[in-house]
């Protein structure tokens, strides 16, 4: 029983007091850890969306913007399709300032007997693609073969499984890493597969194609050369290609980014408010507890404890409460955050991608340490005042 074991005994033998202080710090840790994980997840989601879109400009048929919301397609995985002539790709490449251009073709499957699941199918040209292909390459060595599909992490199909899309049997060859966006609910295939699927859909009377010739695409992703102004290239594309609208991806993300900033600000203010409140409550709690324990500390002084020993004991005791509270708060937050991540994502309607395990663990450790530190700090004043009291006077006052 020295300056370490005495605080431990005090905590164990005063369970009510310990529980109350622990709950207070748990509340603090819950807010800090929970809030930080949500904000980080939103940031990773946005970064991931930016990376997946990967282009500076997207070309879509002019009427497409009225047909579906791009934002909903990318963020929430809303299915949709629109088509234009594949020649748009070559026209885009003619425009000055365009470094790369890659086509994508969309097809929405049905929730019907012909299809295993209702999903967005995206056809890509592996030779030209610079947006989705690098992401697919992380999960699949080699190219996507004909009638092969790579599925987003939220599509309920395992590698090796056969899924039916408009009665066509497609083999799942890869499951992709999470992006935290609507892209996680899509299925990716090469253009041959996409053409086969489009024909099958047409044969079933599901009219996806418009009167635009044999070869159709839904969008062209454009990368602008270094040194060129994206806005200027965007204008040139709009002027050069008829019936097509060039949309800057930044403008698509700006709305998301603004919402994210709003959510981040709210969460940060909430965390700060909880901090201040918890700190004040802890400050008062420790002041009251130490006043109540004045005689106990006087007895310790009587037994030979120095002021330094007493201060260390008080700080250690409060830090231990903070540590316990921190662990409880982080545990409690984890119980809600991880199992209900999808629920949070759909409630926020924003890209939401959990940070890596290492980051989460670091954040958890940081929160626990912070809780211990805040608890210890809130008892510093009380500990200092206590150590200044003459034990003779404290013994009298405590009687």
């Amino acid at each position: 029983m020295n300056s370490i074991s005495l605080p431990v005994k005090n905590l164990l033998r005063r369970p009510g007091r310990t529980m109350a202080l622990t709950l207070l710090t748990a509340f603090l840790a819950l807010a800090v850890f929970g809030g930080s994980v949500v904000v980080l997840s939103l940031r990773s989601g946005l970064n991931s969306l930016e990376a997946r879109l990967g282009a500076d400009i997207i070309l879509v048929p002019s009427e497409a913007q009225s047909k579906v919301s791009f934002q909903n397609m990318f963020l929430q995985g809303t299915t949709g399709a629109f088509y234009m002539d594949a020649a748009v790709l070559d026209k885009a490449l003619e425009v000055e300032g365009v470094e790369k251009a890659a086509p994508q073709t969309f097809l929405a499957s049905l929730k019907a007997d012909c299809c295993s699941i209702k999903i967005q199918v995206i056809g890509i040209d592996p030779q030209r693609d610079f947006t989705v292909q690098p992401w697919i390459a992380r999960s699949l060595t080699g190219a996507l073969g004909d009638m092969d599909v790579a599925v987003g992490c939220k599509v309920e199909a395992d590698v090796g499984e056969i899924i039916r899309i408009y009665e066509q049997r497609c083999k799942v060859v890869a499951r992709l890493e999470a992006t935290g966006t609507g892209l996680d609910t899509a299925v990716y295939c090469n253009m041959n597969t996409m053409n086969a699927l489009l024909q099958a859909a047409e044969a079933m009377g599901v009219s996806h194609r418009i009167e635009s010739g044999d070869q159709v695409i839904s969008a062209v992703y454009v990368k602008v050369k270094d040194g060129y102004d994206i806005g200027a290239v965007n204008s040139r594309l709009n002027g050069h290609i008829r019936k097509v609208t060039a949309v800057r991806t930044r403008s698509m993300i700006t709305g998301v980014s603004d919402s994210l900033a709003g959510v981040s600000r709210t969460v940060t203010i909430l965390i700060a408010a909880v901090w201040v409140l918890a700190f004040i409550i802890l400050l008062l709690a420790f002041a009251l507890i130490i006043r109540e324990r004045k005689r106990e500390f006087a007895v310790l002084r009587l037994a030979g404890a120095s002021r330094g020993m007493l201060s260390r004991m008080v700080l250690l005791e409060s830090a231990m409460c903070g540590l316990l509270g921190g662990l409880a708060g982080v545990g409690l937050a984890a119980l809600f955050l991880f199992p209900f991540a999808r629920l949070i994502e759909s409630a926020l309607k924003l890209p939401y991608l959990m940070p890596r395990t290492g980051t989460v663990l670091l954040l958890a450790a940081g929160t626990v340490l912070l809780s211990a530190l805040v608890a210890a700090l809130s008892s510093v004043i009380a500990a200092f005042r206590l150590s200044r009291v003459d034990p003779g006077i404290a013994l009298r006052e405590g009687n």
């Binding site: 020295n2 005063r14 007895v299 009587l302 037994a303 404890a305 009687n399």
Partner: protein, 233 residues
Amino acid sequence: MLMKAENISKRYLRKTGGANYFLAVKPLNLELSAGETVVLMGRSGSGKTTLLNMLCGLLSPTEGEVWFNDTSLYRLDDQALSCLRSERIAAVPQGRSAIDTLTVLENILLPAKLYGRSLPVSDARQWMERLDIAHLGDARPAELSGGELRRVAIVRALTQSPDFLFADEPTSDLDDENTRLVLSTLRDYAHERNRAVFIVTHESEAMAYADRSFRMDGGQLIPAADMKGAAPA
């Protein structure tokens, strides 16, 4: 081995009333030597406890010095004074002085444990036996009567095996039989181990156990007659 109070006084700030300060202990000199039991009596508020606290290093005097052999107690830094108190000077304060979260035995061994010294468990058990609380080692202070708690505080002080033992009202809450037991134990400790015991009390019976006695009146220390040899066996 000597403890010497040199011209010490204690002045307190008075928070209410007319004068700003009042002198709880007027300047006084006192020497305590090894092997003697000194008893201090006086009315409530006469300054007895203040004097005891100053002598045992718990309350710094407003003026004057308290010497422990050649060391001036209040010139030591807090760490050194605390360590000295833990090893050489023990005090039994008024009222409850047990920590509720510790058992009786843990309370008794507290001074040694604070400094990581070897635990004088057999000494503690002997003193507990002598003061008839041997059966209470594992009990919690909340389960004890006032008299038992007094004896726990006395056993803690005795177990420290101090050169100087200061006891403030050690017989309050005790019945006659236990009062005699405590007083004779303290006197024997001083005599048999050649240590000094200083007792502050209202109990007139304590005078019979004193080698020297004093009376405190209005903060002034007044020597009483030499009582040596008058104590019962």
